[in-house]
């Protein structure tokens, strides 16, 4: 099939439609407004629903309603808007509702900047809302991967009855790369017998709910969710490794910085220093064991984390590496992108050269 040049944000929207998403609720915010704009234009062709809500809070609650009613549904936003959605995300995790939530991250805190950043890692992976809950969080690094993971995100959401976040940065949202549309046959997913579609007098009422007022019941519900999260950890970890053979430096980065890290590795290679790149694709569940294994390789002398933040994922890197090798960090925040040269220099410093 021929390749087509696609802008990240528009590819997100098209991939969602191709994945069977028939409901979009959202509120405009830079740098992701091409997603609602694309949905507004194209959702009608599918007989689906596009609705621009009065707020991010309303949007995520419309997602809650639509998901509970059985639809394949999504919303998207950028950092400050995602903050507003946290209430709804917590409720959806509590009520076990599937949906895809796209965060095209920009710099923060507060209004921050509209330029690309990765300052929402903690919010995405630790839960920005209240309570014990987890989201599946996927972080693509190319537009092709955006497209491939969108389909998977919807399937995972339905399979586990859980919201899935696509964690992009503004750069991936705005850039264009060739995309090859491959048709993935629908997975064998369980039917949504829990959806509120009206009893028709034929079954007991279905209730979409996150309230368990009795402490024992609430504890049981939390344990049930925890069991589910353990299954996800067992089965859904994704990562990629490049150039690990004889690597002295192991870069760890997700999204755009993983590409900067690879460019830095190339610069280091010109100086005779071998560097590999470990890239988590699922940042929750995090590939701790695979990272530890890679870092444990004899040739690796230092692990260098690269982020477009002041250092958030580095906490997970430290958990994964667990002291087997020294871990350091290089990053810039607020829309400034660390240059491959800076990253290479940080690696040399880590090697003491």
């Amino acid at each position: 099939m021929a390749k087509e040049l696609w802008k990240g944000n528009e590819a997100v929207a098209e991939a969602a439609i191709r994945a069977g998403c028939r409901c979009y609720f959202g509120y405009p915010i830079t740098p992701q407004s091409e997603i609602p704009e694309y949905m507004a234009l194209h959702m009608a062709d599918t007989g689906g629903v596009f609705l621009q809500s009065e707020s991010e809070i309303a949007a995520i609650n419309m997602v809650y309603g639509a998901s509970g009613a059985g639809a394949r549904v999504m919303t998207s936003s950028s950092s400050p808007g995602i903050s507003l959605k946290q209430e709804g995300i917590s409720y959806m995790c509590g009520a076990e509702l599937p949906a895809v939530i796209v965060n095209v991250m920009r710099g923060g805190p507060g209004l921050g900047t509209i330029q690309p950043a990765q300052g929402d890692y903690f919010q995405a992976t630790r839960g920005g809302g209240n309570g014990d809950y987890r989201l599946i969080v996927l972080a693509p690094a190319t537009i092709q991967e955006v497209v491939d993971l969108m389909q998977e995100a919807f399937d995972l959401a339905d399979q586990y009855r859980i919201p899935v976040m696509m964690l992009l940065d503004g750069m991936i949202g705005q850039m264009m790369e060739p995309v090859e549309w491959t048709h993935t046959p629908a997975s064998d997913l369980p039917g949504k017998t829990w959806a509120t579609t009206g009893t028709e007098g034929k079954r007991p009422p279905n209730i979409i709910n996150s309230l368990f007022i009795d402490p024992d019941a609430c504890n049981r519900h939390n344990q049930h969710l925890e069991e589910k999260y353990k299954k996800i950890i067992e089965n859904e970890i994704k990562y990629s490794i490049n150039d690990l053979v004889d690597a002295e430096i192991l870069f760890v980065a997700y999204g755009t910085p993983s590409r900067l890290a690879r460019a830095a590795a190339r610069l280091l290679g010109e100086e005779g220093i071998k560097a590999g790149v470990f890239r988590p694709i699922s940042v929750w569940p995090y590939p701790y064991d695979a990272l530890r294994e890679a870092a444990s390789q004899d040739s690796v002398q230092a692990v260098v984390t690269v982020e477009m933040s002041t250092g958030q994922m580095v906490d997970d890197v430290r958990i994964g590496v667990n002291g087997v090798k020294p871990v350091s960090f290089i990053g810039q925040a607020g829309g400034v992108i660390p240059s491959p040269r800076e990253v290479a220099d940080a690696a040399k410093k880590a090697l003491g050269r």
Partner: protein, 249 residues
């Protein structure tokens, strides 16, 4: 023996948790009877609020969602757009609808969402123990307005029915109460009409029901009924504020 009265089959057998003398139970009954009368129970999806009616999902014998505080109209919007041929309603209190969820209700009305909202106004926060509501009357004492609601500090209570009636997307807006048999009969007619208009696809519908809260008002049930009639109704007049089916005639 002839059966002269039966509990509506649109209510479950769950024991309601409402306080003695509270009129939530009557309002539930009117909504339930309406769903049966209009033969829409099997295609109804309700949205419960946060507030005293938080457990409404256990009481209505149809598919239900429990929404976050104030978000019921947004949740109902999501449901109705996915299932446009279903009957969708929200059941909300005054904190839920007139404070934290003001944006959601106003915009649901603006879009003319084909849903029905039952808005229970008892001029106080019940579930959390009697704090001030946006509908608390000036001078009325609450746990967070211990000297009475001050107009200088908080302004006057908000009249949601009047406010929403100014919105073009609203098809039917009425305020009723359930303090007397006559009022109850009228409230039933209002609720039925709202659901009928929803099913005709004419727009957003809301029935505001003035309700008692003897517990947090510090009154006996009988005193509460009198206080509502004598003090609340003058502040919240009972009327049909918008009915687009009338204008068409």
């Amino acid at each position: 023996m002839a059966i002269v009265y039966e509990k509506s089959k649109a209510l479950t057998d769950a024991e309601m948790h409402y306080c003695p003398g509270c009129t939530h139970g009557i309002i539930h009954k009117l909504v339930a009877e309406t769903l049966v009368d209009l033969d829409v129970l099997g295609k109804s999806i309700g949205v419960a609020p946060v507030g005293c009616a938080v457990f409404a999902y256990d009481y209505f014998n149809c598919d239900m969602h429990e929404a976050a505080h104030g978000r019921a109209p947004a949740v109902a919007t999501g449901i109705k757009h996915v299932l446009p041929d279903r009957t969708v309603f929200t059941y909300q209190g005054d904190g839920d609808l007139a404070a934290i969820g003001t944006a959601e209700i106003v915009h649901a009305a603006m879009r003319g969402e084909k849903i029905t909202t039952i808005f229970v106004n008892n001029a106080v926060y019940g579930m959390t123990g009697g704090q001030m509501a946006p509908t608390t009357l000036v001078g009325q004492k609450t746990t967070t307005a211990p000297f009475g609601r001050s107009f200088e500090h908080y302004g006057a209570p908000i009249r949601m029915a009047e406010l929403l009636a100014t919105i073009d997307g609203a098809a039917y807006i009425e305020r009723v109460t359930v303090t007397t048999p006559a009022h109850i009969a009228k409230a039933k007619r209002a609720i039925k009409k709202a659901f009928q208009i929803q099913d005709e696809g004419l727009g957003f519908t809301m029935v505001e029901v003035l309700s008692t809260c003897p517990t947090n008002w510090g009154m006996t049930p009988v005193e509460a009924l009198s206080w509502l009639n004598e003090t609340m109704i003058p502040a919240f007049p009972l009327s049909v504020f918008r009915d687009i089916t009338k204008k068409e005639k």
